[in-house]
Subunit: 423 residues, 2 copies
């Protein structure tokens, strides 16, 4: 369960009335697009796709020998699986993310892997991502050299249903593939096979994850008073004049979640609107309580230029009581017999109050617990929030035109034919 706490934002519940028309119209505009050809709103329907889930489950059961899972992918092809696998790996399968192009860690990884027990999963919607293609060349070659004709069983491709280099390779070699639906973009793809396939090997509870996401869908379409995604979209909208939006998560297991959110928010909303204005706020990742010892000094005494969002679990599956240790009574006696999770909760609450007291704008999203259900809900909630903000800010939340020049310059520097430096 997801619960919003805005106790320090005095004007907020009233603002819902003031902005009711804008919000409902934004939602209508977004949903109307769903009928247009080329609309990238397929993420809304992913939580209902039980057929894909069954297919993934069968594939996982047919590969019980997998001990190491190597994910070749970058950006939206890596951030979602990484965030969820870190939180919910119950199987003990080791995951390795090649979401970079540094030679030394790749060499080191190849030295430690046993190819007979390794599954390589290359993920790229377009099939043209340079980093993923480079990694694929290395790992495909390694599988072929290590395993001979048996290499095909150790490579699975997650890509566009029809197009691109990975699709073509799969057809030529008879490789197993999973499809990223055409109308699902990278940063909205975590509940497609991009995330579900690795998570099946991690032994995560995928039904619960999707059930949580369906709850977010339900609330996204609910009347404004119950529509949590419209409400947090309004909170972001009301503070769009502040350059920074902090996303601070109080959970070690969810340590990679802020990076997933940063991509979702920054790449969806950081762009020029129809009038050519540069819009968007800069998302800053943070973890509690570690960042109380790193960023909170700035949040408390530095410029009041931030909207701060705390994500705080309300309970632990089982708390860990702190034992009494002789000799530590004076400094640590107040902790004796308390639970470790009680300390976490007290720190989150204290930070919430201290940030409000300093004059920063801050609200909290409480997660009932760090479970696949609650986190699935949170992910889909944040996708709805972002999509609503796209409508409110007049930008297309589903493209990324700003990264094209960098790609062209990279190709030019590498001498790819057909790409001039000025191209």
């Amino acid at each position: 369960m997801l619960r919003l706490d805005t106790r320090f934002l005095k004007g907020f519940p009233k603002a819902l009335k003031v902005y009711e028309k804008d919000l409902l119209e934004a939602r209508e505009r977004l949903l109307a697009k769903n009928k247009a050809p080329g609309a990238m709103l397929g993420w809304m329907g992913l939580p209902e796709d039980t057929e894909t889930l069954r297919e993934i489950r069968r594939y996982r059961e047919a590969h019980p020998w997998v001990e190491d899972y190597v994910l070749l992918g970058i950006g939206g092809s890596a951030l979602g699986p990484k965030a969820l696998e870190a939180a919910f790996n119950e199987s003990g399968v080791r995951f390795h993310y090649v979401d970079h192009v540094e030679p030394e860690p790749v060499r080191k990884l190849l030295r430690t892997l046993d190819p007979r027990k390794t599954l390589v999963n290359a993920i790229s919607k377009s099939g043209a991502t340079a980093e993923t293609l480079a990694a694929l060349l290395i790992f495909l070659n390694w599988l072929q050299k290590s395993l001979g004709e048996g290499w095909r069983r150790h490579l699975v491709l997650t890509t566009d249903p029809q197009r691109g280099a990975l699709r073509a390779l799969a057809e030529r070699e008879g490789l197993r593939t999973f499809a990223i639906p055409e109308n699902v973009g990278g940063r909205y793809s975590v509940l497609s096979p991009v995330g579900l396939l690795p998570l099946a090997f991690a032994g995560a509870d995928l039904e619960a994850l999707l059930m949580g996401a369906r709850k977010a869908n339900e609330l996204a379409l609910a009347p404004l008073e119950q529509s949590l995604p419209l409400q947090t979209a309004l909170l972001q909208h009301l503070h769009r004049h502040l350059p920074v939006t902090v996303f601070m998560v109080y959970s070690e297991r969810l340590k990679h979640l802020p990076s997933w959110f940063v991509q979702l928010h920054d790449e969806s909303l950081g762009k020029q609107d129809r009038e050519g204005n540069r819009v968007g706020t800069t998302a800053v990742p943070a973890l509690g309580p570690a960042d109380q010892h790193a960023q909170v000094q700035l949040f408390r005494e530095g410029p009041l230029d931030k909207l701060i969002v705390l994500v705080v679990p309300e309970r632990a599956a089982e708390d860990l009581p702190l034992p009494e240790v002789a000799g530590l009574e004076a400094e640590a006696g107040y902790l004796f017999g308390k639970g470790l999770f009680a300390l976490l909760k007290a720190e989150a609450e204290a930070t919430y109050r201290a940030l409000a007291e300093a004059g920063q704008r801050v609200y909290t999203l409480y997660l009932s617990e760090v479970s696949p259900y609650a986190v699935g809900w949170l992910l889909q909630h944040l996708m709805w929030q972002t999509a609503f903000l796209g409508e409110l800010w007049g930008v297309n939340a589903f493209d990324q035109p700003g990264v094209e020049l960098g790609k062209r310059l990279t190709f030019a520097l590498l001498g790819r034919p057909g790409y001039g430096e000025e191209g």
Copy 2:
């Protein structure tokens, strides 16, 4: 080696002349403080401390049985060791960072560890850090229960030379300790035993690390034209009106370095100056090339409110050539025979140009390579930069008064005697 490239900041070399007096005076003020009692400038001398290095080396050699190293510490006690160990672990000793208070990951860790082969290192300057004390209660109790009287050999404390709960515990129980010099604060402590002890177990080249840091010291004190730390301090100073400073590192091995820098910059500079003005810029961590697929869209098309710093290695120890794979000629042929590191370099260069073309303020720091020498130089360089900025912005770069309220509220919520909510 460290090299500064400001090719897209037209006015820069000229600004050095304009600000020469301010910069030299800031340096003089900083160095003059070194003589005052209570000055927290001990980090300047750490690279020269060969006696501590020898002591650490002897301790490491006396503990060849260590296979798992559990570091209990948070903030400045964890971020530095984590950043360097991820880059330079050559020994295969497994490191576990308890820099959080979530019960489930602690339980999971305790289930996987063999206490006979585990060394626990609790790190806290003050000895009063709640998270570290809580973790210490759990791990000390676990060692005692698992090993009986032998537990003392498995716990080493890094703390203040005289004061605090860890020092008292060590004296009472006869535990081995390493001292954090009194005049070294947490976020400036990576080259003290805070970082050196874990890095000795990681098998990193500590001499090279300190030698690099000495080079930064030399340049910090050099004439302005050679003084890289004064120069990058000026670059940050000239752009202090921009709310965000991005720190984007093109190295997977250095993936935790941005978080170390965020603490150093935010906690040192985000505070009220003598006139009560809220100063400081918000550091945003980024990794290349992954964040080309996450944050660069915002950097290119979003608000021009950022100073962006790229950190780029100039060469790899050994590049990894990309093999030719039949069937991938059309999409990936341009990569055949190229090196993986050549792709990394091309992407960094392309991003540099694309960000400048978009109108963002951007400069690059080139590292000769990802080596202990170059990274030691970089860390010490950034400490000098931060200390100089403290002088230029009129703030104390070595305290953190803004975190006190949060601590008091946490104690109050946990019922620690002597702490009222209004404390």
